[in-house]
């Protein structure tokens, strides 16, 4: 029963990460939003950026293997976005839920 409630809860709350680009005055705009759907990541936003993310992937900083992560890696990809985009010019948020 508890497992079922947890599963329903997980599906009710969509996990997503916003990626912001820094403008000249210090303001940030969202250039992409990556969310989890059926275990895969879907990113929407700036076409070139999203295509780049899809093609090149991001680094997995959870160990020193240099492994690349792609949309198919689902939650792991979302979790690692903030370690890849942290320069200030492009920053990723923590995982949010809605």
């Amino acid at each position: 029963m508890i497992k079922l409630v947890l599963m329903v809860k997980q599906n009710l709350f969509m996990k997503y990460v916003e990626i912001y680009k820094l403008g000249n005055n210090g303001n940030q705009e969202i250039i992409a939003t990556c969310s989890l759907a059926n275990g895969q990541v879907i990113c929407r936003g700036d076409r070139d950026f999203v295509q780049y993310l899809e093609r090149e992937g991001i680094f997995d900083y959870s160990d020193s293997s240099h492994k690349k992560l792609f949309f198919k890696d689902g939650l792991k990809f979302l979790e690692q976005l903030k370690f890849n985009f942290k320069s200030g010019y492009l920053n990723a948020s923590d995982i949010k839920e809605e």
Binding site: L22, G26, D48, N84, S87, G88
Partner: protein, 257 residues
Amino acid sequence: MESSEKSGKSEELIKQLELFRRETDKEKELKERKKDYSRDLGGYGGVFFVKLKDDGEGIFKPKNKEREFLGRRVEPGTYYKRERAAYLVDRFLGFNLVPPTVIREIDGEIGSFQEFIPEAKMWHEIRQKDRDKESLKTEMFKLWIFDFIIWNSDRHESNFLLDKNGKKAYAIDNGLSFTADPLILWKNFDGEPVPIEIQEKIKQFSSPEDKKSILKDLLKELLPEEEVTACFKRIEKIAKLIEKEGLINDDKISFNG
């Protein structure tokens, strides 16, 4: 006071060395100007956009907000010094890749403060035909060699910028450098002829010896001695490879040169 005649150094050389020893005007501005306002940019570790009074902006990364990267030796609380160390190496090499970076206090927090690059572009914003241009290739080649020198374990698409014309590269986010962590490099120019412009810079760095010793002293204030020694060994190794073959094979360079 040693006269230039006695030391055997020309007036010009002494002047040049003095300039290397001193902070540049830009560094002084970044260090001394008061904050006008700042914006928390969020994300992992603290990153702030800071507008200075009387002009100037920068990216501030406070020491106390630095957070761990799993699987890496580099310790939080040292990244801000590594940012400054990377800038100094770049300045002495004359690569002009790292925006001026100083260490200063803002709102009671010490951290690295790097000049902001307005209208910066990311790699994904550069069209393919522009990516292939020779001038940009030279910039990327320089970045590749620079990352060997500072032993960067964190160079990827979002850790370098291009100017608004897409011709000049800027190496940012250099905090995970100088330790013996595995390298993460952007492009690979393994075995390709090193552009003459870069060969010249490396040659110029090697002489005079005094310039190297000034840099060594400055780096020792920021990094453990063994990391400084390893960095100089890598520069020597790269200089030798270029002198001998005019190219660099990446398997010939290790952390210790």
